[in-house]
Symmetry: C2
Subunit: 191 residues, 2 copies
DNA sequence: GGAAAAAATTACCCTATGGTAAGAAAGCTA
DNA sequence: TAGCTTTCTTACCATAGGGTAATTTTTTCC
């Protein structure tokens, strides 16, 4: 719980009213490892703010292969934004990679917070801007770097995430197979 | 000019004050084909709202290859968000693919609009949410579709953009070479 | 702590896409 | 309309990464 306000307050000043409202609707929850919070094909109503641990969102394609869209650790938001925005069934699965703690919000609650508290809306806008920037960078990396370069960058950029993940999670995030990642790791080890 | 308000008003209600302020600072500009609005390596101060025509943002990698990040037609925003956000030099070039019309905003102006007019901030948040959703979809497509499938999807999803682009623009957006796109087009034609 | 399950590695061969270079077509511009 | 420039196509070969399956290593959990 505290984490949410730490995070938000570090970027904007929340009014007392906003703070009380947030407290009144949000409950921090412990989620055990491997629990699934959103399941591909089902309806999505919630967005999650992570206060501890690590979650992952991924989709399973028509050949049964997993593709990781996002990892989320402390202070990050995660959900199936595609489904929420298009009002369709989940295209993603969101799972807990380790015992974690989250705060969940449904769409109506978030709408209400945004409407009632402009400072929260401002926080969200900044958040989304950062998100867009990181997605732009990810797309450019995918277009111009080799698999090895993307792996190195991932390790440098998100050193805290590796401890929670299996190699095949990272491979599917980087857009390669587990086997290719394994070959890359062998090459790296040789140097 | 009118377009900006058409677009914004269709999603939110702007107060009279906000509208007057927007009018007072924004000037629509005609930009000729091939003009470059942001140049990789230089400083970035502006964000563009397109009212007619088509712009493109791309980066040139260390091997001299172009990678298209975004196309923007009427009612879309375009800039080098990476540079603006990280406060560094442009990693992207933004060019005009055809004679176009734009309204430009500098960061300070946008900040001021956001601060003074919560309804504009709300519009921007929704805009950014849509942007995040489309980037998520693009990343998933890149991970799970073949080049041919991505090309078909592009043509279906953005039928209005093709008229403004060269094939190598589209190829570099899809993450393939111009030659590969050409081979794909030949295959498609056969069927 | 040990059996069972899951993940990672490795070897072998395969395929989609890349690179180069030459020629054809289309688009400008005088 | 001719000539120049840019874009597109095609052929040929190269390569990064994929697929399968067997083996080893690590993790899970009773």
């Amino acid at each position: 719980m505290k984490e949410l306000f730490d995070k938000i307050e570090s970027s904007i000043l929340l009014s007392l009213a906003a703070k009380e409202f947030l407290y009144s609707i949000s409950k921090e929850k412990a989620i055990p490892k491997w629990e699934i919070l959103i399941r591909q094909g089902q309806t999505v109503t919630k967005t999650f703010f992570v206060t501890a641990g690590c979650l992952r969102s991924y989709c399973i394609d028509k050949n049964g292969k997993e593709h990781t869209l996002q990892f989320a650790i402390k202070n990050w938001w995660i959900s199936d934004y595609i489904a929420i925005h298009t009002d369709e069934l989940a295209t993603l699965t969101v799972e807990c990679l380790t015992d974690s703690r989250i705060i969940e919000f449904n769409a109506k609650e978030l709408d209400e917070i945004h409407t009632r508290f402009p400072e929260f809306e401002s926080y969200q806008r900044h958040n989304l801007e950062r998100h867009v920037v990181s997605l732009h960078q990810r797309i450019l990396n995918q277009l111009q770097l080799t698999a090895l370069e993307r792996y190195d960058l991932f390790l440098r950029q998100y050193p805290d995430i590796e401890q929670y993940t299996r190699n095949y999670h990272i491979a599917s995030y980087l857009g390669i197979t587990q086997e290719s990642l394994s070959r890359i790791r062998v090459e790296k080890a040789k140097k």
